[in-house]
Amino acid sequence: MTAPSKVVFTGLGAVCGAGKTVDEIWDALVNGRSAVAPIKQWDASQWPVNVAAEVTADNRTLVPDRKLHKIISRTDMFGLYAADLAVQQSGLLAHREKMDAVAVVQFDDRTGIISGSGGGTFRSSYDYLPLLTAAKGDLKTFGKELSNVVNPMWLLKNLPNNVLCHVGIRYNFKGSNGCITNQCAGGIMAVTECAASVRIGEADRMTAVGHDAPFEPETALNYHRLGLLSEDVLRPFDAKRSGTIFGEGAGAAVLETADDAKARGAAILGEFLGSGCCSEATGILDLRPDGDGVNRAIETALAEAGLKPEQVGMIVAHGNGTRASDASEALGIRRVFGNNPPPVTGFKWAYGHLIAASGIVDLVLALKALSQQVVPGIATLHSVDPEITLFPVSAAPQKPRSDIALVICRGFGGMNVAVLVRATNP
């Protein structure tokens, strides 16, 4: 039996408050520049928490098609933009242009997309506020006036799977697909499911997209009420960490087999090695304090990749800056790596918590870190929490121990996802 072909990355893209290309974001990370700033999307000056890492690029810079903006939401805009970056970099479209008509049909049917979507937002519901005013509290009038007041495309504009639909229409990628609405885990699971599709031969190539625009007035208040938000700085693993800070944006990756990528002469940007996904069975918000879940996700990924812990060169932790998550994550990592974990970092201090997009953007930047042989420091880290011991996080940059990175993503619902990637051998 021949070994299954390796699954590789041939296109990457990301947008967030720290930049609208992978290189811009990388530049912010290595220069200690955080995009966290006072919220501009609404007047938040009187709010209990009024900072976030907003994307400031103009809507039309990200998605030029004016008509499209009428039927997509802010989160979709990020997703479409990041997908475009990855697809363009992969060179797949130019490759398809050289094919005859029969080959193109086959290519399209064997090319798929999986998105990880933040899904249901409060913002979408506000389209009904004028109707509520018109109805004066009477549901019968609400029904009667409905079509006079609300955009007939309301439902389609707010589908969680919108990015899937529009990326599909733009590129005619008609193969395997899905939309994962698993809160923070969605984006990174889009990558793991894409890799699985390519590995089992369900598709020849896949585009993974994770996107979210999670901070809205109501969401911010609820996160604050739940005690999850920092009022000023996101300090992962720091003794003085006080919570997370919202960001927004998207990440995307094109995956295919190494054989296909080589045959068409594409640049290989990294290799997907394995993944693990575990629930802690603790409900919507609670975490196990002992890190069980984190360690099982990592162990599953190592087993799938056929690797030992000491082969891992660096870790991009979830590091969301909340007391409970960082403490349990560090414990989970220690349970696998013992007293000798490789250099650990986290990126949320620079671009905030991107929720459904967080894991995939972290993964895209992890590949960049491997290619540069630099583990960026956590610029907001002053003194590591004394409860978190033998855990090599640092404000200064470190050097990866090998060409393999572990990316960890955690989320509501007790979710833990771990992914192992390798840099391309030059």
Partner: protein
């Protein structure tokens, strides 16, 4: 290449408008009883469509026995609890400490993250004139409700159900509109085949029978306006069809590796044999008239099951009862079934229980499992004048006893995601 690992369906559960558990729903389907009527949940009298397929006499408290979890569970989440509990009880197996990490979870999740009452509160504080002013949210009159917020998270039921049942392995929640349930089960099949889990609890849940959910479909003209004849409003493949009836509920199944299920002497309803999915890449509002998109999903599912349409005896169609969907789906079926088009029986059980949106593919998977077990193709109710453009062999008049070697179930979603699942009779599995 090594044949893929076989996956057995060993437990099923359903909550629908025609029965609060699987046997009741299945009995109604066989008898062709519909669950449609004027909407009772809220005053729908001003809407262009005032009928729905509501779940009736459901005990919302009993569905979530754990009081601490109950407040986090919405209407549709409670349907999920009930159907999942039924499926696990039916399978006679559930997660234990020793194997909980080998249990996985995959669910097709509804898209509604807020309720109408919550929106009314926002309106009162922030938008009396209709224009949203966020300052109202920090005024004295408004108080955020973090429990409602948690309830509205896209993966809240994943958190609640994995906690309640103690599932500690792979877990996912997916949403591709009307294809969600089918895609959740397809995702699970792939995860089981690649060895990620030994057991999975899989399904879908939804309820859009609220003022905002109903509004979304009324605006699109997708729901039947036959308010005076609700029992006949859903008539897939009939020439006079004019939209679907919005339903609600949940469907869940327990999946196990075939050999393990046989070894423990489990009753096996069917093999979950194949999964296919595709994107239509057509228009956001329309179905491809020639079936290009659904065709690939069906072909992929048959290939994934290792069979051809020669072995297929029954198709549980997506069959929403909209003009466009039914035509597009039949065009696709003609291509996929080829010379078997006149032999293979087709029905849409949405004719009885309406369209359960994100739960549709999951309840219809349960229906396929039961159809195979009992050797009955359920009737396509309300068919009086078949549309000549929907020229497939519909199960007309009454349900059809027949041995089913393999069944196929379609779920075709808004946004162009198509999901197709194939189920095989256990006697066909060697």
């Amino acid at each position: 290449m090594k044949p893929p690992r076989r996956i057995a369906i060993t437990g099923v559960g359903m909550v629908t408008s025609i029965g609060n558990h699987a046997p009741a729903t299945w009995a109604s389907l066989q008898a062709g009883r519909t669950g449609f009527g004027p909407i009772q949940n809220f005053d729908a009298s001003g809407f262009s469509t005032r009928i729905g397929a509501e779940v009736k006499n459901f005990d919302f408290d009993a569905a979530v026995p754990d009081r601490k979890l109950r407040k986090f569970a919405s209407r549709s989440h409670r349907f999920a609890f009930a159907a999942a509990e039924e499926a696990l009880t039916d399978a006679g197996i559930r997660p234990e400490n020793a194997n909980s990490h080998r249990w996985g979870f995959s669910v097709g999740a509804g898209m509604m993250g807020f309720t109408f009452d919550e929106l009314k509160n926002v309106h009162a504080s922030c938008a009396p004139e209709g224009e949203f002013d966020p300052a109202g949210l920090i005024s004295k009159g408004f108080s955020p409700d973090p429990i409602a917020f948690c309830r509205g998270q896209t993966n809240a039921p994943l958190g609640l159900l994995t906690h309640h049942f103690g599932i500690r392995g792979y877990a996912t929640s997916v949403h591709t509109a009307c294809a969600s349930g089918g895609q959740a089960i397809g995702t699970a099949l792939k995860a089981m085949r690649r060895g990620v889990c030994d057991y999975m609890l899989v399904g879908g849940y939804d309820s859009m029978l609220n003022p905002i959910g109903l509004s979304g479909f009324c605006l699109l003209g997708a729901v039947s306006p036959d308010n005076d004849t609700p029992e006949r409003a859903s008539r897939p493949f009939d020439l006079t069809r004019n939209g679907f009836v919005l339903g609600e509920g949940a469907g869940f199944l327990v999946l196990e590796h075939w050999d393990a299920a046989v070894k423990r002497g489990a009753k096996i309803y069917a093999e979950l044999a194949g999964d296919g999915n595709s994107l239509s890449c057509y228009r956001i509002t329309d179905s491809p008239p020639d079936g290009n998109g659904p065709i690939q999903a069906m072909q992929q599912a048959l290939a994934s099951a290792g069979i051809t349409s020669d072995e297929l005896d029954y198709v549980n169609a997506h069959g929403t009862s909209t003009q466009m969907n039914d035509k597009s789906e039949c065009a696709g079926l003609r291509v996929v079934l080829g010379s078997n088009i006149d032999r293979v029986r087709v029905s849409s059980t949405k004719s009885c229980m309406g369209h359960l949106i994100a739960a549709a593919g999951a309840v219809e998977a349960v229906v396929c499992a039961l159809a195979i077990r009992d050797g009955i193709a359920p009737v396509n109710a309300n068919l009086t004048t078949p549309d000549p453009e929907c020229n497939v062999n519909l199960v007309r008049g009454k349900s059809q006893p027949m041995r089913i070697r393999a069944a196929l179930s379609n779920s075709l979603g808004f946004g162009g995601s198509n999901s197709c699942l194939v189920f095989r009779n256990p006697e066909e599995v060697r």
